[in-house]
């Protein structure tokens, strides 16, 4: 299990390859990558991601451990960036390895649902007309009830 909170970009291919090379008992590898989306109006200059150093690592580790306790997983990887990102930049990735694909898929979804509203990150969209904090969505909170 690895959790990384970092400002620098990560290499999706290299991370996925290294993760998949772990253990032959894992017949299923699922990866999810979050990308900075340009706004509907198409004028996003920068996405600023603030976080709470210390608590972020603890929260992500706890979420990853809960996924491991709940599903039959060989391994879990979580990488989440902070700082200034541009449209098209990769913000984060999760990867799960399991003997069977159902566990890998479900655990990846669980990780994403919890990471969205239980890990201390805050996004701010900076456009040519100003800057605005992204509001949390009710549906993100609601998503947790299914687990």
């Amino acid at each position: 299990m690895r959790v990384a909170v970092q400002e620098e970009a990560f290499d999706l291919g290299a991370e996925a390859n290294a993760f998949a090379a772990g253990d032959d008992a894992n017949g299923a590898i699922v990866t999810f990558t979050g990308v900075v989306r340009d706004l509907a109006s198409g004028d996003l200059d920068v996405m600023e991601i603030e976080h709470y150093p210390g608590m972020t690592e603890r929260a992500l580790t706890k979420i990853a451990q809960e996924a491991k306790d709940r599903w039959s997983l060989g391994d879990v990887l979580v990488i989440h960036r902070h700082g200034r990102l541009a449209a098209g930049d990769r913000i984060m990735m999760v990867a799960t390895a399991a003997p069977h694909r159902k566990d890998a898929f479900e655990a990846a979804e669980y990780l994403m649902d919890y990471l969205k509203s239980r890990a201390p990150f805050w996004k701010k969209e900076v456009t040519n007309t100003g800057a605005e904090w992204v509001a949390a969505k009710d549906e993100d909170e609601d998503a947790l009830t299914r687990w």
Binding site: G34, E50, Y52, G54, M55, R58, H80, I91, M92, M112, L115, K116, S117, R118, A119, P120, F121, W122, K123, K124, W133, V134, A135, A136, E141
Partner: protein, 81 residues
């Protein structure tokens, strides 16, 4: 204790972190104490349903006790992922 602010709470109060000498028994008591200080605190804490609190880096509640707590953080609902 150390009191930390993140995202728009940090911007509204105007600082990321401060040391606060307090006898507040609960988070709600601390919020009342800070809100009485200056308008910028009162504004930041005007709607607690829009805020979350962490005690020693664990999510908690506004009616939680502050006994033994060294670090309190206030922030809006999180938007990771």
């Amino acid at each position: 204790m150390d009191v930390l602010y993140f995202a728009w709470v940090r911007e509204r109060i105007g600082l990321p972190k401060e040391k606060v000498d307090t006898q507040a028994a609960t988070v709600n008591d601390l919020v009342a104490e800070l809100s009485a200080r200056e308008d910028r605190y009162a504004a930041a804490f005007s709607d607690l349903s829009a805020l979350r609190v962490a005690l020693d880096q664990e999510l908690s509640d506004f009616d939680a006790s502050l006994i033994g707590v060294r670090e309190v953080a206030f922030f809006p609902p999180m938007t990771g992922g």
